[in-house]
Point group: C2
Chain length 281, copies 2
Amino acid sequence: MSYLDRIKACNTRDLSHFRPFQVGGVHVGFVRDDMASALKPYAEVFSVDEHAVVLRERLTSFEARTRAVGRVLKDLAKRGFLKGWRDEAYAVTPAFGAPALFVMERAAVPLFGVRAYGVHMNGFVRKAGRYRMWVGRRSRDKPTYPGLLDNTVAGGLPYGMTAFECLGKECEEEAGIPAELSRQAVPVGAITYCAETHEGLRPDVQFCFDLELPETFRPVCHDGEIEDFMLMPIEEVAAIVRDSEQFKFNCNLVIIEFLVRRGLIGPDEPDYVAIVQGLHQ
Amino acid sequence: MSYLDRIKACNTRDLSHFRPFQVGGVHVGFVRDDMASALKPYAEVFSVDEHAVVLRERLTSFEARTRAVGRVLKDLAKRGFLKGWRDEAYAVTPAFGAPALFVMERAAVPLFGVRAYGVHMNGFVRKAGRYRMWVGRRSRDKPTYPGLLDNTVAGGLPYGMTAFECLGKECEEEAGIPAELSRQAVPVGAITYCAETHEGLRPDVQFCFDLELPETFRPVCHDGEIEDFMLMPIEEVAAIVRDSEQFKFNCNLVIIEFLVRRGLIGPDEPDYVAIVQGLHQ
């Protein structure tokens, strides 16, 4: 078991059973063969053949695309192809920062292999040059990855919200970190990966943040997503990441990025270059 | 002009006039067509055809390869194909941390498009949350990139030296930073790029280090490589990087990485994801 194994786990997929998903002449995702078949009946919205899934060209506006795809997704949910409806709109864009082509229900994003963005924050305490990190345990009744370890705060970026706004909101809800503290969080980079999951494909970007917390502060979850927070010596967190699969798959990468950036993994590690590159695939 | 332009400048090449360079069945570099032609007369060492340059298979040991290639390189230097002999051995490896297949004179490394490793360190001063960075100006009589701006300390990694040893040595020679200070330098990651230069191809890895310096410390160059050091507000350094080409090409990336990592460029920058990924190509 190694750090590289965790990175590989986030970058394992077989694109041979996926088809490109195109909107307005732009490639924006990948649809797995089974989902492509499920989309065939909606011929007024999607053109599906063996090479690609294409949003019908007559749907040219943000509103028309959003409405048409939304109707299909509701029907797919009824038919059982789409589970865990969140009622959160995610942007479908050709690139980060570009205007959205349309928005889509969050739960459908991996089904279309559309790039999603999120925020992940490591809260830590530093004393005499030694780090301890706040680690969360996901609730046992969470629909996704129940009971696994998690970063201090993490959440998906819905349409129309900036990464900073999203972080402030998640800090408050997930860990009871008030705005005057969360405002001190520092954006430190991003990890990117492309994982095949049971739902489909996740070519994600997670914006990473650090927040140095006062020793007296204790995170408390207000939205029931995290059942417990633990303040752990960073060496212990590093060993869990390296030697086990106790963390939710992508949280491992956010911690590895922290270890690299803070010099807790250095160029004396033989996999160093592969690790650094692997965090940004 | 933008940060992305600096990243693009380090990743511009046309591989169509390069051929793969193979040693012991492993791809270790790229040789430009003109250099491939120059290698043809050395048929006992290199097999050259239109598809590849291959080190002769009868050269199986580290020593035999090093000796045979070394003889060719000395002759190429005499013939004017290899300039700026440094008398420094660089490792040719299939991957970072793997045993060297052989070693080669540093000046020849880009001619063979072999991956080189180096260390780059930003020395900085922090006061009330504001950063100033020590920037060097390269000597006007340096053979490479004379007069351009440079990171506080930078150097190539010779065979048999660790990144930490190399950094300590360069800190001492290039900036008069004593061991008790340079030992506090923190490894913070690496940048990777692949640039075509007038010499050939540079698919480099630069290990990045940060060193917070006391306000009273002034770097002094002992080896004549840097003519002057300036302590500049980080916003000024950032503007030079973004809006000009005053820095040596790869030093720009080391500074951009610093800006990202320390939250001085954040996800409100539209190019953020492209920048973060671009630093690790």
